[in-house]
């Protein structure tokens, strides 16, 4: 499992293309939001949380798609399927690699968003960290499963977000709510229920991806 994680990280270290494109994408998304929704007129915590999760979901699409398209193109899929590993471990390895990319992206995006959009009214709390960790785990868990499915079809790049986004709906509602609360020290009723819901989402989809990958890998 960790071999897969290290392999994906090594590919990225050698090419570096994913992280540079993620960074540029994040900057562009922030600019687009600033142009289209005047940041001075909206409440900073809501706005920053909305931008953060929109950016992360779209950035996730980029990195998740790549994660399996490179396996298909390099003919490595068969090698993966034949590797002396059970399918569940391959799924977890891929998910962890995607999680790390997304986490890195979040670590880059968040200060960028705070500096560019949060001119006033922001008071980040530790809750933001919990929110980002749980949210990113969910995006990686769901996205890795569907990216593997989509990579077999003609419409690889477009299908993965089409399948993932609806499933991610509860996660995004929760992540945006908790991030908003964490950024502005806005009192949120039931922070615990929200965090439990996010944690529950992660557990459900990590488990189902882990179990379902048997059917995904075999051709």
């Amino acid at each position: 499992m960790w071999t897969i994680v290290l392999k994906d990280l090594a590919i990225e270290r050698r090419t570096g293309e994913l992280l540079s494109s993620l960074f540029l994408l994040a900057l562009l998304v922030v600019l687009i939001f600033a142009f289209t929704l005047d940041p001075d007129r909206l409440k900073a915590p809501e706005f920053a949380a909305g931008v953060l999760w929109t950016t992360l979901v779209f950035a996730g699409t980029l990195s998740l798609n790549r994660s399996f398209v490179i396996e298909r193109e390099g003919g490595a899929w068969t090698a993966l399927a034949l590797a002396p590993l059970d399918a569940g471990s391959i799924y977890l390895g891929k998910t962890i690699a995607n999680f790390l990319f997304l986490l890195l992206a979040a670590v880059v995006f968040l200060p960028l968003i705070l500096v560019l959009l949060g001119t006033r009214g922001l008071a980040p709390q530790p809750l933001v960290i919990a929110s980002v960790l749980l949210g990113v785990t969910g995006i990686a868990a769901v996205g890795t499963l569907f990216a593997a499915m989509a990579s077999r079809t003609r419409a690889r790049e477009i299908l993965q977000p089409l399948l993932s986004f609806p499933i991610l709906a509860p996660l995004l509602i929760g992540a945006a709510r908790t991030t908003t609360a964490g950024l502005g020290a806005v009192p949120l009723e039931d922070v615990t229920s929200w965090l439990l819901m996010l944690g529950g989402f992660d557990i459900v989809f990590l488990t189902s991806g882990w179990l379902a990958f048997d059917w995904i890998l075999e051709e």
Binding site: L163, F165, I167, P170, G174, S193, G200, F205, S208
Partner: protein, 236 residues
């Protein structure tokens, strides 16, 4: 191979089910449009409920059916299970779409808006997108068994999402007054004739659902046979 010819009439499929669907549907239409009294508060527009609410039930039933059929297909690999899954998904999508169309006609005069982010509305539109994604994935299959298996995984994973979705939307919109759910004992349909109309419409839409699913399953089976015949002919 089937022993019976595909052209032969089968009483359940070709006579009884469509007949019962037609009769109850006509009865439901007659009751809704001609016989049942209008609601005292909401007026004539309330009549859309007889169809709208029952469409909603069948939409969720369709979703449950997709996940059961998907699980059955993954475990046994039987074609029949996969046919049932695609048929339920398509007819479920049809019902969900009709529900999303009939809702705003009622909401506009009563709530004053076409759409609100009420928990049930939000839920329905997300379910619609899950159905849509499922059907899109299947369209990419072109007979590729692997993708049909992927679709079955999606059918199950999609249903796991529903409880979380309900929880998230409740937490999100929990502070807002629930427009449709009421603890008031005086709320709801009281007039016995309204209740009957509601039940007849429920049976009619349920039978229509079953019949359409059946036709769709049969269409899928014929389509597969046709494809197999083409392959045979090409070999010969």
């Amino acid at each position: 191979m089937t022993t019976r010819s595909e052209g032969a009439a089968r009483p359940w499929r070709d006579v009884i089910l469509p007949g019962a669907t037609g009769i109850t549907m006509l009865a439901a239409i007659a009751m809704v449009f001609l016989l049942v009294p209008s609601d005292s508060d909401q007026g004539v527009v309330q009549r859309i409920f007889y169809f709208h609410v029952n469409l909603a039930w069948m939409c969720f039933a369709g979703f449950v059916l997709v996940s059961i059929a998907s699980a059955w297909y993954l475990w046994t690999g039987r074609r029949a299970a996969d046919r049932l899954a695609v048929a339920s998904a398509e007819i479920g999508m049809l019902y969900t779409t009709l529900m999303l169309i009939t809702g705003p006609f009622w909401a506009r005069p009563i709530w004053g808006v076409w759409w609100t982010w009420d928990p049930r509305l939000t839920m329905t539109v997300v379910l619609w997108t899950i159905y849509a994604g499922y059907l899109m994935l299947r369209r990419m299959a072109d007979g590729d068994e692997t993708i049909l298996r992927y679709a079955a995984v999606l059918g199950i994973v999609g249903s796991l999402d529903i409880p979380l979705l309900i929880l998230a939307i409740r937490l999100w919109r929990g502070i807002h007054p629930a427009v449709m759910i009421s603890d008031d004992p005086n709320a709801g349909i009281k007039d016995p004739f309204m209740v009957w109309t509601f039940l007849v419409a429920m049976v009619a839409l349920g039978l229509l659902f079953a019949w359409l699913v059946w036709l769709r399953v049969r269409y899928e089976a014929i389509d597969e046979r046709l494809a197999a015949l083409h392959v045979e002919k090409a070999r010969a």
